[in-house]
């Protein structure tokens, strides 16, 4: 064999490979800068329409409602946006580029994590914009800079974990419509049976039990705790436990789905 093999020092591990994949997923923004607006439109519209059109009826004045539920409604809007991870992976696989990447000595984890990390960049951008709008229309955090940062980090951590569930959906779905259906039929009930909008006591008995267990309740309660300047307690532990459990289950399941989809 006389082929001259290009030798590159392959000290770049899975994380570096994931970073390359992240950059690749974000590169399309340069070709279509309008995407920067699309990333925050849905959470922004959810925040504004619920606050202005429903808030007054729910709490007497939309300002009180914004103060109570504004941050958690932003969280819900971004929670719905994790569908992008499923749709993105589904599209990647359909394009055939993942066939090439799979036949290369590249970590499978890096291929999935790269997509999710790129989506996290987009979520962070959307959070900054929509959070800025909430501030502009009158929302004020009692937790100061630290509390606000804590709430934001709690939200981003939860979105990161939840994105892995969408990775599994994207890798096993038969069509884009199926992914949308999963989003509506799973994410929405989850959001509406949590303390995102409402106080637990207003729910009927059995739903109250579920609302306590709901991961979004752990998220909403943790965010409210940070934003009201409290100290982390059981709600924060519940959130961390949920994130760890979701990752422990869905990272291996996603990797297995990847193997089944692309190498069998």
């Amino acid at each position: 064999m006389t082929t001259a093999t290009t030798t590159w020092t392959t000290t770049r591990g899975p994380l570096a490979q994931a970073a390359s994949m992240t950059a690749r997923s974000l590169a399309s923004i340069r070709h279509q800068p309008a995407q920067l607006i699309e990333f925050f439109m849905i959470p922004l519209m959810i925040l504004l329409s619920i606050t202005f059109f429903m808030g007054g009826q729910m709490m007497g004045s939309w300002k009180d409602f914004l103060q109570y539920a504004g941050p958690t409604i932003i969280a819900m809007g971004l929670f719905f946006a994790i569908t992008a991870t499923g749709l993105g992976l589904y599209g990647d696989i359909k394009e055939g580029v993942f066939d090439r990447l799979t036949a290369m000595p590249v970590s499978r984890f890096a291929l999935l994590a790269g997509r999710i990390a790129a989506d996290m960049v987009k979520h962070t951008w959307a959070l900054l914009v929509v959070g800025g709008v909430a501030f502009a229309i009158g929302y004020r955090s009692d937790g100061g800079v630290l509390g606000t940062a804590g709430a934001a980090l709690a939200l981003l951590l939860f979105l990161f974990a939840a994105s892995w569930t969408m990775a599994l959906v994207g890798l096993t779905a038969k069509s884009e419509e199926q992914i949308q259906t999963w989003m509506i039929s799973l994410l929405m009930p989850l959001a509406y049976t949590s303390t995102i909008f409402i106080e637990k006591d207003t729910l009927p008995g059995p739903v109250q039990w579920w609302a306590s267990a709901n991961p979004l309740t752990a998220l909403a309660d943790t965010m409210r705790m940070f934003l009201s300047g409290g100290t982390p307690g059981s709600e924060t532990l519940a959130l961390l436990a949920w994130c760890a459990a979701i990752l422990a289950v869905f990272v291996p399941l996603s990797l297995r789905a990847y193997r089944r989809k692309l190498t069998s």
Binding site: M1, T2, T3, A4, A27, R100, L101, A103, M104, T263
Partner: protein, 318 residues
């Protein structure tokens, strides 16, 4: 290591359909193995198994001495793949696509840029290096795809129908690139449904149909299996065809067939052709032309698969 690619008894079933049904293949280092067959013959499945994208139900496949199932990681280090569908990121530019591959393979940013530029020059894509890949023409996309599969100079390159859907000029350009890679020592497995492509590029050919290799050898060996040579007679009047066929039968007992208004007579050697021509001369049948030639790969394929020209054309159009 005698063979760069060695496949024995490969079986792969999808439900009831046996896509591969005991396939044997072998390619010596630095040669081109052409896998020739119609749509649905199992060509893509074979490539996917060899490039570690799927696993076989039975049989063994080795690439550069590594078992593709047990040592998939080692195989991936040394192969390149250009699948039937472009393995490119449509939203990235040509240059970004090549740089991404190089980065994933361990190149530094500078090395990646340098290698991308080399390939862009070599594959005549400099005018479109910054353009998104989904804005490329079919021929350009194929060239970029091929470039992406040799970013790290693979020792074995798999090309799954690399020129399907290309115009003749782009096809010729791609053939030149493949020849260059082989001259540099790369072993190539190429699947195609174009007989001319296999004839042009391959050192050895395996003809595959419904999951089985039905013939293999060098292009000229394959032509011989159809039986020596072919005498083609073009009568001045089409109604003479029946009479010509009868004369050929009397002269040498040949089973001739009609094709495009000609009579095609398989002959073992030139003497038999002479005997047929003598009869035709005695009978006084007017010919507009005649010729003795090696059978084309088309004729080999028809003889081997029993597919009629018509169904083959439908498959080619599909």
């Amino acid at each position: 290591m005698k063979y760069a690619i060695e496949v024995r008894g490969l079986v792969k079933a999808f439900g009831e359909v046996r896509a591969l049904d005991g396939v044997h293949l072998a390619a010596a280092p630095g040669t081109v193995l052409g896998v020739l067959g119609p749509n649905g013959a199992g060509k893509t499945t074979a490539v996917r198994i060899l490039s570690t994208l799927t696993t076989a139900d039975a049989g063994t496949a080795r690439v550069l001495g590594h078992d593709v199932a047990a040592e998939a990681g080692k195989v991936r280090e040394r192969i390149g793949l250009t699948g039937q569908y472009a393995g490119l990121d449509p939203a990235l530019s040509g240059e970004q696509n090549l740089m991404l591959i190089a980065r994933l393979l361990g190149a530094s940013r500078r090395q990646a840029r340098q290698r991308a530029h080399e390939l862009i020059e070599r594959f005549d894509l400099a005018h479109a290096a910054g353009r998104a890949a989904d804005k490329y023409s079919g021929g350009m996309r194929r060239r970029l795809d091929l470039a992406a599969s040799i970013v790290r100079r693979p020792e074995v390159l798999f090309l799954d129908e690399p020129t399907t859907g290309l115009d003749p000029k782009s096809r010729g350009g791609l053939w030149d690139i493949v020849r260059e890679l082989v001259a540099e020592g790369t072993t190539v497995l190429l699947t195609t449904q174009y007989l001319e492509e296999a004839d042009q590029l391959a050192d050895s050919i395996a003809v595959i149909d419904t999951g089985k290799v039905i013939a293999s050898g060098t292009p000229s060996q394959l032509k011989q299996t159809v039986g020596g040579q072919v005498l083609r007679l073009s009568p001045a009047r089409p109604e003479s065809l029946g009479q010509l066929a009868q004369l050929a039968d009397w002269a040498i007992g040949a089973q001739s067939r009609q094709e495009d208004g000609d009579l095609v007579v398989p002959v073992a050697h030139a003497g038999e052709a002479q005997a047929v021509m003598a009869r035709v001369g005695q009978a006084g049948i007017d010919l507009t032309g005649f010729g003795l030639h090696e059978p084309t790969l088309d004729e080999v394929f028809l003889t081997l698969t029993g597919h009629t020209a018509e169904t083959k054309q439908k498959e080619l159009a599909a």
